[in-house]
C-alpha cells in the first residue's frame, strides 16, 4: 500500500469531455431556437402578404 500510486491526473480530459457534451447539446438547442425564430419571421411576412391581398 505504501507504494500504491493514486488515481491518474485526467481532470483536463474530463473537462474536455463535458465541454463537448454541454457544447453539443447547447448548440443543438440554440439551433432549434433559431429555426423557430426564422419561421416566426417568415410567418409574419406571410401574414403581411395575406393582409395586402385581402
Amino acid at each position: 500500500m505504501i507504494f500504491q500510486e493514486g488515481p491518474a491526473d485526467t481532470l483536463n480530459y474530463m473537462i474536455a469531455g463535458y465541454a463537448v457534451i454541454l457544447g453539443a447539446i447547447g448548440l443543438y438547442i440554440v439551433n432549434i431556437i433559431l429555426r423557430f425564430r426564422n419561421l416566426r419571421q417568415d410567418e409574419a411576412l406571410l401574414d403581411e402578404i395575406d393582409a395586402e391581398h385581402a
Binding site: 488515481p7 491518474a8 491526473d9 485526467t10 481532470l11 480530459y13 474530463m14 474536455a16 469531455g17 463535458y18 463537448v20 457534451i21 453539443a24 447539446i25 443543438y28 438547442i29 432549434i32 429555426r35 423557430f36 419561421l39 416566426r40 417568415d42 410567418e43 406571410l46 402578404i49 395575406d50 391581398h53
Partner: protein, 233 residues
C-alpha cells in the same frame, strides 16, 4: 401563432432541473475512480448519449414501419425529428469516447469493433438526413426514409453487441469485459446510482427535445404550405 403547451413548459423546467442534478451527481457526488481518475466521470454521459442515439434510431425505425403501414404523414415527422436528435447524441457518444480513450488507451482512435460500428451507424443516419433532402415528393421522401430507417437500424444492435461478439479493448459496463479490454472497472453502488440517474436524465432530455423538434417540423410544413399558396396566387 400556436402557443407552447403548458405541459411542454413544465417538461422544459423539469428536464433542466434534473440535468443540473445529474451534473452534480456525476461531477461531484459520484466517487473518483481509483485508477482512471476524473476522466472516468465522462463515462456516465458518454453511455447515456449512446443510449439516446440508439433509442432515437429505434423510434425512427418503428415510426417508419407505422408510416409504411398507415401512410400518415405525422409518423414521418416523428422519424425526421428523432433521427436528428439521434445523430447529435451519437456524435457526442463517439467524441466523448475518443476523449476518454486518449489517456486510457493512449490513443484518440483505434480500429476497435465498437468504435468502427458506432461510427458506421452515425454515418448511416447522417446519410439518411442528406438523402432525404434530395427527394422532392413528400410521399416518396417519407417512404424512402421509412425503408432506409428500418434497414439502417441493423447497425444499432450490431454496435451494441459488437463488444460481446468480437474481440475488443472496449470495456463492457454490464457483465464481464474481455480480458483484453482496457479501462474496465467495477461500479460501486454510488457509481451505479450516478449511471442510472444519467440514463434517466438523458431519456427525459430526448423526450423534451423530440417534442420541440416535432413542433418545429409541424411549423416548417405549415409555413412551406403558405409559401406555395402565396407563390401560386
Amino acid at each position: 401563432m400556436e402557443h407552447k403547451p403548458k405541459a411542454l413548459t413544465v417538461l422544459n423546467w423539469l428536464t433542466g432541473a434534473v440535468f443540473v442534478v445529474a451534473l452534480y451527481i456525476v461531477l461531484i457526488w459520484a466517487p473518483q475512480e481509483a485508477i482512471m481518475g476524473d476522466v472516468q466521470r465522462v463515462f456516465y454521459f458518454h453511455v447515456s448519449a449512446g443510449w439516446v442515439g440508439a433509442l432515437a434510431f429505434l423510434v425512427t425505425a418503428i415510426v417508419g414501419g407505422i408510416y409504411l403501414a398507415r401512410g400518415e404523414q405525422r409518423w414521418d415527422r416523428v422519424a425526421q425529428a428523432s433521427v436528428e436528435i439521434g445523430v447529435v447524441f451519437a456524435f457526442i457518444n463517439i467524441v466523448t469516447g475518443s476523449i476518454w480513450a486518449r489517456p486510457i488507451w493512449n490513443t484518440w482512435w483505434t480500429w476497435d469493433p465498437r468504435l468502427v460500428t458506432a461510427t458506421i451507424m452515425e454515418l448511416i443516419y447522417i446519410a439518411y438526413m442528406m438523402l432525404r433532402r434530395g427527394i422532392e415528393d413528400p410521399d416518396r421522401r417519407a417512404r424512402f426514409g421509412a425503408v432506409y430507417s428500418i434497414v439502417g437500424f441493423i447497425s444499432v444492435p450490431l454496435t451494441f453487441l459488437s463488444i460481446r461478439i468480437f474481440r475488443t479493448i472496449h470495456p463492457i459496463v454490464v457483465g464481464s469485459s474481455d480480458p483484453a479490454a482496457l479501462g474496465a472497472f467495477d461500479m460501486t453502488v454510488d457509481m451505479r446510482v450516478a449511471f442510472f440517474f444519467s440514463l434517466f436524465t438523458f431519456t427525459l432530455l430526448y423526450i423534451t427535445l423530440l417534442w420541440h423538434r416535432l413542433r418545429l417540423q409541424v411549423k416548417m410544413e405549415k409555413i412551406e404550405e403558405r409559401k406555395l399558396r402565396a407563390l401560386s396566387s
